[in-house]
Symmetry: C2
Subunit: 206 residues, 2 copies
DNA sequence: CCCCGTATCAAACGAACGTTTGAAGGATAG
DNA sequence: CTATCCTTCAAACGTTCGTTTGATACGGGG
């Protein structure tokens, strides 16, 4: 049979991620997911309990690592007295972009994340805020220190735009083919550099 | 009865817009829509033919006017030899923000638009591109002239970010309460000015 | 008056949904 | 070998979905 080397749980998570990215949480059915994962329909409820729990598990699988890497990168920025706004933005962007460009469904995950961001679903927002909000708040503190000339209201409003722009853009990156003749590493650095410059210009604008 | 002053068709369009914004196209059912609109379930298929046609009608009702206003504003920019990048961005942003801040469901429409943008649905993309893409291409030409120092690839990529950021942000504006003591007009101008400056800084960044 | 096109209605259609059930497999420990 | 636990399976549960149907009411033009 075509069952892959991965466990039932992992196959479900991978298929769900891809289908949620493509059709949304309401639009992708458990029958589509289990069929794509080559597992029985009942396996979802056996391993995850419910569709909602499956959705949370799909987030958790990637966000635990992403959040940890962002946190570590930000800690290095905070330890460096000469760190710039660009360094802080790099700490935010680089882990996400590396995830978006990996070969194991990371691109699908970023598209799913962008959809979730746009959905404004209250249950999902609370889940994300409760489990991963603290790192984002750490970033907000650092940005506040680096952009002290902006009022708190003005800063939050700009961070909102930047976060939205970055989420949108990185979600698209898995889809954009890179320029011919460039290595993946070069493509990643090129992209990060431009995203950082773009975001920094917007945040600093008088 | 509580039937409003509007026709059955208009009541369906209004209810669908609000519910699509909140729950998405797959997540909002025709039973929810017709119940909120106080019309019979069969009215949707009678007046619009299908759910997909209803979705297109909801877009058409707002986008015809929005696109026309953007086109007119851009024509003024093109007629003015001294026009700046900020003027062109204003022509793009102002009509959308006025729509987002109107009192007749415009905020819901912008949220719906942002969701559609994030969904990457092929059918919907083709519908939007076929019906409203020509004005966006006109904007691209103007931006290309005003940012001649950027390569074509670089320009498109930045426009992509800016369009995403603006879509996201304007979708949120209907939800953000304005600062106390400011008139709606002042709030709108304040917002437009900052969005324009933010976008211009990102587009021009070296 | 009757007719006819428009509009609304309750009711039902088959299909697809998330979830549950109970039996069958398959590995491991005693 | 038997007993036990974890996993998988086909089948069915009740609900909700988009859509269709046929009857009913309404409103001018012949």
């Amino acid at each position: 049979m075509s069952a892959s080397q991965f466990s039932t749980k992992q196959r479900i998570l991978g298929a769900a991620e891809a289908l949620f990215a493509q059709h949304g949480f309401a639009g992708a059915s458990l029958r589509q997911v289990t069929s794509a994962a080559n597992v029985n329909l009942a396996a979802v409820n056996y391993h995850f309990g419910s569709k909602d729990n499956l959705i949370e598990a799909v987030f958790r699988r990637r966000l635990d690592a992403l959040n940890a890497r962002r946190h570590a990168a930000l800690a290095k920025v905070e330890a460096n007295p000469a760190a710039t706004l660009e360094d802080a933005l790099d700490a935010f962007i680089r882990p996400a972009l590396e995830l978006a460009l990996d070969r194991q469904g990371g691109a699908a995950f970023m598209r799913m994340l962008a959809r979730a961001y746009a959905e404004h679903d209250e249950r999902l927002r609370r889940f994300l805020s409760d489990n991963y909000g603290h790192v984002l708040r750490e970033f907000a503190v650092v940005f506040h220190r680096m952009l002290a000339h902006l009022g708190k209201e003005e800063l939050y409003w700009r961070l909102d735009i930047v976060a939205g722009a970055l989420t949108y853009t990185m979600a698209d990156f898995g889809l954009i083919k890179r320029r011919a003749g460039t290595s993946e590493a070069a493509h990643r650095e090129y992209t990060i550099e431009h995203l950082v410059r773009f975001a920094a210009a917007g945040l600093r604008a008088a």
